[in-house]
Subunit: 675 residues, 2 copies
């Protein structure tokens, strides 16, 4: 198998390359090299072919595209699983990588369609009034970067690692070049082959480099970005590249870190949280043979629970079957390659200088249907650091394999300090059923961790666990973890977009954002707005209703009819004592109901339903004898692809006879589309 690169719309196969070995058998399974690629031309192709094609699409179109992609890739799952065994993965390990990757595409597709508009840009946050009379406004708008996203990935997740970066990038409308780590690139390459065969993505949207990135970094511009996952050393080197700093290229890094898990002081062996903790530490040590950036490296345990925790861990680990990952009952496979094993052993030896090895270590051991001399197997190794405030190796040395160190603590504050001594990590977890401990740990340790998973009896059954980054939440931590943020729902999409503060008159802001902004021109015509279908209604389409006087009889009638006999409506003396009213006032719900009576057009027509209401504020009381009228303006429209109706948002203002605003709200209707 000679691994290809996908460049400028074509597969490029090198003449020869470096050998890539099977993690379990040590056999050569592929050759890899990026020799002969023109990196500058690839970047041009992304910017000039991929970018324009993606930017012509809306968020929703791109979201549907990646959903279609996920469905298509899913057809080849068996093939990907088969290849994945060569990296030492069990079936369960591959599930995280392959199904986890596809799941990320689905989640992003769905979130984009729910949370983003069907536009190629995003209007972020509120309109800011920058002047007294509101003729000069400010609005943040996000537009796609006009460059290429370079993704440099780690060996441990050849599929998920690619897709978790790909999903937000493509949804943003930005083309990408992905460079997988050589050791497991054969799996990434196969997935990209299936992608390109599918014809689902536009030309230039995705390119692949198998092998080194050559001089790619020299050609980075201010519109490009780099997302790196891997070692701190490489990350630091890349981030200091002159083209990166000179052009302020967005650079995010997600590096391995010394993640921790705290067993709460309440989690004695009798509490369900004790078992949950032990299970999770074992899980994180053995899944992917501990080769997860998020794995638990430090188990922080109440001093008097060190003994039972150690025993429970040893007992559970003794039951873990290690060997040929193709076998059903094998729970843990091999490290990615012999180099990784040497690396892990070196780190274990370094750590053992001040920590006690409770089980495991750096020697050969029995395997199920596998050969320790040929496959990169390592034994799960638990260490004990008796003085974690003085002996610092376990806080600073990462053995990227099935290795974890137990540390004792006295008080919750001490546990927090120990967790923070990792100087920035991707994730910490806490096993507690005590809300106060949870609160203290979030406030005390939050600044040092990208994610804090708090797990207990209430959530354990459904918990996704310590180690799993979820597409909804950010992945990445401060300091040693690289300081980057990936995913995090729509935040991850915004990383590939530029925030621009647009200033202008209300009409300008309306035109730019495609949302009617307060203060903009009204469009009044003779047809009632509710007689217009979704496609006919325009931003600014306005109705001014007739007026209606609210009488004392109306109020009393409404009170008795609905049962809302609140004193402010019913009792002149009590109402007078209320700080806001001074005398009897109409019910807010009466106003809403009368307003509807004024603006609703009763006969069957394109408005199918009022399905909601938003941001209602009562600004001024309505007193008996006051006369109200309503202005209704079309504020925004949201079409749902394939549906026979769309959502229309209306700005509704109720004013009194003095033109004071009594209430303002957003009304949501579903309107039929044009036939």
């Amino acid at each position: 198998m000679i691994l290809g690169s996908f460049a400028e719309g074509h597969w490029h196969t090198p003449v020869n390359g470096r050998d890539v070995l099977d993690a379990v058998t040590g056999d050569v399974i592929a050759q890899i090299s990026s020799e002969g690629l023109n990196f500058e031309a690839m970047m041009h192709y992304a910017r000039n072919v991929g970018g324009p094609a993606l930017r012509k699409m809306t968020f929703h179109q791109r979201a549907l595209m990646i959903k279609e992609l996920a469905i298509k890739l899913n057809e080849y799952k068996a093939e990907f699983y088969e290849l994945s065994y060569a990296s030492g993965c069990t079936k369960a390990d591959t599930w995280i990588d392959v199904d986890g990757g596809f799941g990320t595409l689905f989640t992003y597709s769905s979130k984009a369609r729910i949370e983003l508009p069907d536009e190629p840009f995003y209007t972020e946050g509120n309109t800011e009034q920058l002047s007294r009379n509101g003729t000069f406004l400010g609005q943040h708008v996000m537009v796609p970067l006009r460059g290429v996203a370079v993704h440099i990935n780690a060996f441990n997740f050849p599929v998920w690692g690619m897709l978790e970066k790909l999903a937000p990038t493509l949804i943003a409308g930005v083309p990408l070049i992905v460079k997988p780590a050589s050791g497991t690139a054969y799996l990434t390459e196969r997935v990209v082959r299936r992608m390109t065969e599918s014809g689902i993505l536009p030309d230039g949207a995705v390119q692949l480099v198998c092998g080194s990135v050559g001089d790619m970094f020299d050609h980075l511009t201010c519109q490009d970005s780099v997302a790196f996952t891997g070692s701190a050393t490489t990350g630091m080197m890349l981030s200091q590249h002159p083209a990166v700093t000179k052009n302020a290229v967005r650079f995010i890094s997600e590096q391995d870190s010394l993640n921790s898990s705290i067993l709460g002081p309440d989690a004695t062996p009798e509490a369900p949280e004790f078992d949950l903790f032990v299970k999770e530490v074992v899980n994180e040590m053995t899944t992917k043979a501990g080769q997860k950036c998020t794995a638990i490296r430090r188990a922080i345990v109440p001093k008097d629970l060190v003994e039972p925790v150690s025993e429970a861990l040893k007992a559970r680990l003794a039951d873990v079957k290690i060997g040929n990952p193709r076998l059903k009952d094998v729970r843990m496979g091999a490290l990615a390659n012999m180099g990784q094993r040497r690396e892990v052993y070196d780190r274990i030896n370094e750590m053992a200088e001040e920590n006690e090895i409770l089980c495991g270590g750096t020697g050969a051991f029995d395997l199920v249907d596998a050969d320790y001399a040929k496959g990169a197997f390592a034994a799960p190794t638990v260490m004990y650091c008796d003085k974690p405030f003085e002996k610092l190796k376990a806080h600073n040395i990462e053995a990227f394999g099935p290795v974890s160190t137990i540390m004792p603590y006295d008080t919750v504050d001490d546990a927090i300090t120990l967790a923070n001594m990792g100087e920035g990590s991707l994730v910490a977890s806490l096993f507690t059923h005590d809300n106060n401990v949870a609160r203290d740990v979030v406030m005390g340790a939050g600044a040092y961790h990208g994610r804090l998973a708090i797990i207990n009896r209430d959530s354990a059954e459904e918990s996704t666990g310590h180690g799993s980054p979820m597409p909804h939440l950010k992945h990445g931590g401060p300091g040693r973890a690289g300081g980057g943020e990936e995913m995090g729902g729509i935040r991850g999409v915004m990383h590939y977009m530029q925030r621009v503060a647009v200033q202008g008159s209300p009409d300008i802001i309306t035109a730019v954002t495609n949302r009617w902004t307060k203060g903009s021109s009204e469009a009044v015509d003779t047809v009632h707005p509710f007689r217009k279908n979704f496609d006919e209604v325009e931003l600014g389409t306005t109705l001014h209703t007739k007026a209606r006087t609210v009488s004392m009889e109306d109020i009393e009638h409404f009170a008795n009819y609905t049962g809302d006999t609140f004193y402010a409506h019913m009792d002149e003396e009590a109402a007078a004592a209320n700080p806001f009213f001074g005398r009897r006032v109409a019910h807010g719900y009466l106003l809403l109901s009368f307003a509807a009576g004024l603006f609703v057009d009763p006969a069957p027509g394109p408005v199918l339903a009022n399905y909601g209401l938003n941001d209602l504020q009562f600004m001024q009381p309505v007193y008996p004898g006051d006369t109200i009228k309503v202005r209704l303006v079309c504020k925004s429209k949201k079409g749902r692809p394939g549906q026979i109706y769309g959502e229309v948002r209306w700005d509704v203002t109720i004013t009194n006879q003095d033109d004071d605003v009594c209430a303002n709200y957003e009304l949501l209707t579903l309107n039929a589309r044009a036939e």
Copy 2:
């Protein structure tokens, strides 16, 4: 005047230092040096004294603190204005710096109290449901970084430059060390003296370094941050410091850039936008003698308007009085010092190699009550670049003074390309009354600019102009502008906080965020929740109401009473044809009204008013004969300092006889506080 530094709670005065000269007279006005400061100790002091004190306060307390600070500093305004003349500033120039700085404190104080909770942390975005049954949730929470913010500022805004960074930092709860540029540090030093005398800020919250930052960068940790404003060369050097990259220190840079302004194709000399444009270019050239990072360096003009624009600019500039900035009718003062003038002249000479000088240049000229040989005065210089797609100097060379280059364009697309050829800038402006041009420029140029100011006849009177960063909007641009973002309202506060993704059960999320989360435990007792005052109501306080059956008579009565005779309520046959209903349904407003009738407690009590409603969704129709009931849960509370009431948010759910949810919304009440 020997400038002091404020370190570890004390003023430190160096024995001697480098001379600082008056921009206008060339006299020595101060000496500056940071010799003798212990930078590591200062950082320790910030982290261990300032940080803990600030973190004990809530956002609102910190916001009130900076408001108090602004009021206090305002008392010394005359003194600051007096000092500012020495930097070559006119009174109008100083207004931008001093009053602009105080205004930023006021705006931040107000935005923080409106948009942030009265807590020391911020709950960001929606709760994410991570599991089918909702027992495992995710929530992003922002907590203050536990380090020190290092602010390195430019010479051109000694007051605003400090305060625009200080405001969001202190509101975040993070201590800072400010290092002003030496040339105008005397003004910053005086402001910090007044700050420290006031006793308003806690110890360690603000420290000052006058002079170089010594070895400060060597001591940066993963909890620290750097915000730099200045030249690209210095910015690049600092961003590559090993401690910055190794610890992933947040580094934002705001560098001078080649900002542009586009005159729209519709803005012929007859259109109001033509004059507005000419006025703005002149303004940006002469204010602060063009020493603004945001000044217009490139004036992009329709080809056939080059002539009238050039003439109008020359005419207006000829009228600008230049000289002693203390004089009332002097519009433009001096550059910061002779070094700056030499620098500006070098750049003009370089640019003149391919651009024509229309007015100004590098020679001596007449001044009002000032001496060209002693003061750093430079003449407003307009150049013309006839082939801006080929001659690139004007896109790449920044003369940081009263210098601007006119460039012709054919089409709006060309104008966009020219604007983008600055490779990233802080701001571009556009003078047009054509909404389509505005939309095209935002979509086409947005990715290259931090801010786009679109100015026309509708907004001109209230516009804050091309050059003014507003605290509500982000300041900073991609690429050459440094890639940083400052201010931008609450975004700027979040820059000094760590985003942590918290995962856990609903009860855990409620405990951590201090907001009741759906799925959390309910607290039911015998007292009606509306009989509890603001301080008695607790998160999760719940009311389950009695049930009420909605009859056909109710619906008909409501329709006739309110006037809302929409067919879905009134006409069985028409309702049957509606895709959502199938038959006649109750009005949404009837449900809201009946719900209020069920949950309201009528007698006078602590609930003073229902002042709003939010996120109402009708999920399931209610048919005649259905029986509804309501659950009301206290979701969050927001006390307003000094007010006799606070806001309570309630989660309201209306269900039918089958426990299907018919409607869900957030109800807002104002509740009296405990006496």
